[in-house]
């Protein structure tokens, strides 16, 4: 392709692009401004939805962890109570278990 052919091709390209530009009518300022308002409103509502989803998703692991912690604490309290009961039971004996038959013998006498 020589210089003139390239110039011709570029001129044809320019003509076609310009022609295409002229085919599309301007929507007018009113329509552009209205569309601008719609576009401003939409992202704002989307942002709120997104924030709510993030909040909910963030809250789920936190509440799950909280429930697990409560369960663990209840289990610990139950175990502590059982241990305390055992200790109390041991302390309340008057003689060791191995001497209990003798105690019974004393009572008979």
């Amino acid at each position: 392709m020589n210089e003139n052919q390239l110039k011709e091709a570029i001129a044809a390209f320019r003509g076609s692009i310009r022609h295409q530009g002229d085919q599309i009518e301007s929507p007018g300022l009113e329509a552009i401004l209205q569309r601008g308002q719609v576009r401003i409103r939409r992202p704002r509502s989307l942002r709120w939805v997104l924030a709510a989803v993030v909040l909910v998703l963030g809250a789920i692991p936190v509440s799950y962890e909280h429930a697990r912690e409560q369960q663990r604490e209840a289990e610990r309290a139950r175990q502590d109570a059982a241990l305390l009961e055992k200790v109390n039971a041991g302390l309340s004996r008057t003689v060791p278990r191995s001497l209990e038959p003798l105690l019974a013998w004393e009572e008979i006498r």
Binding site: E8, A9, I10, I17, P27, I32, G36
Partner: protein
């Protein structure tokens, strides 16, 4: 026929007149901004959306327009920034690349003004247009911008430098590379 940018009413007295005048700006410059955006993006819907965004942005910032450059230059500068942002977002949204409104290169040649040319001449022009259209697709964003501003918008090198945020030297380099690439893809073996 395009009206000169200098013929634009820049003296604005009241908000009502301001709206009316900007309406005239929209009507006057819509085709230029749209065609530049269309040639840059190759997507009719996106070009229309970005052209609207360009005028919306210009309208919101109209008080900042000092009149140092022409309205056309100012609008093209805004659209260049919007095209760049759009390109960045599109790269991130790679799954949306299959665009239904994308310009088909085989139909780009149909945009030939005037029906008075012969079928043979029309076929030649169509081939030329398709060739340049395909070739510009392979250019880098900056090369394409510079090429379109120079050869479609008829802007001076210094004006291109101002709107594209480059030095005049950089514009020359991008233009040289763009033409070399186009010539190469149009079938010229020598660079």
């Amino acid at each position: 026929m395009e009206p000169a940018a200098a013929a634009l009413p820049v003296e604005i007295d009241s908000p009502a007149a301001e709206i009316q005048d900007f309406d005239a700006v929209v009507r006057l410059y819509w085709p230029r901004v749209f065609r530049f955006t269309l040639a840059s993006l190759r997507d009719r819907d996106a070009a229309q959306t970005l052209t609207q965004d360009c005028f919306l942005k210009a309208y919101r910032n109209r008080e900042r327009f000092r009149g140092d450059a022409s309205v056309h230059t100012w609008l093209i500068q805004i659209s260049i920034n919007l095209i760049r942002d759009f390109g960045r977002n599109r790269r991130l949204q790679f799954w949306r690349h299959a665009r239904s409104s994308a310009v088909d290169v085989t139909t780009a040649g149909d945009w030939i003004p005037g029906r008075e040319v012969s079928a043979e001449a029309r076929a030649v022009i169509q081939e030329q247009v398709d060739g340049i259209w395909k070739a510009t697709e392979r250019l880098s964003e900056r090369q394409r911008t510079v090429f379109l501003l120079r050869f479609v918008e008829d802007m001076e090198l210094l004006e291109i430098a101002a709107v594209a945020g480059m030095t005049e030297g950089a514009v020359k380099v991008h233009l040289f590379r763009a033409i070399r690439s186009i010539r190469k893809s149009m079938g010229d073996g020598h660079e």
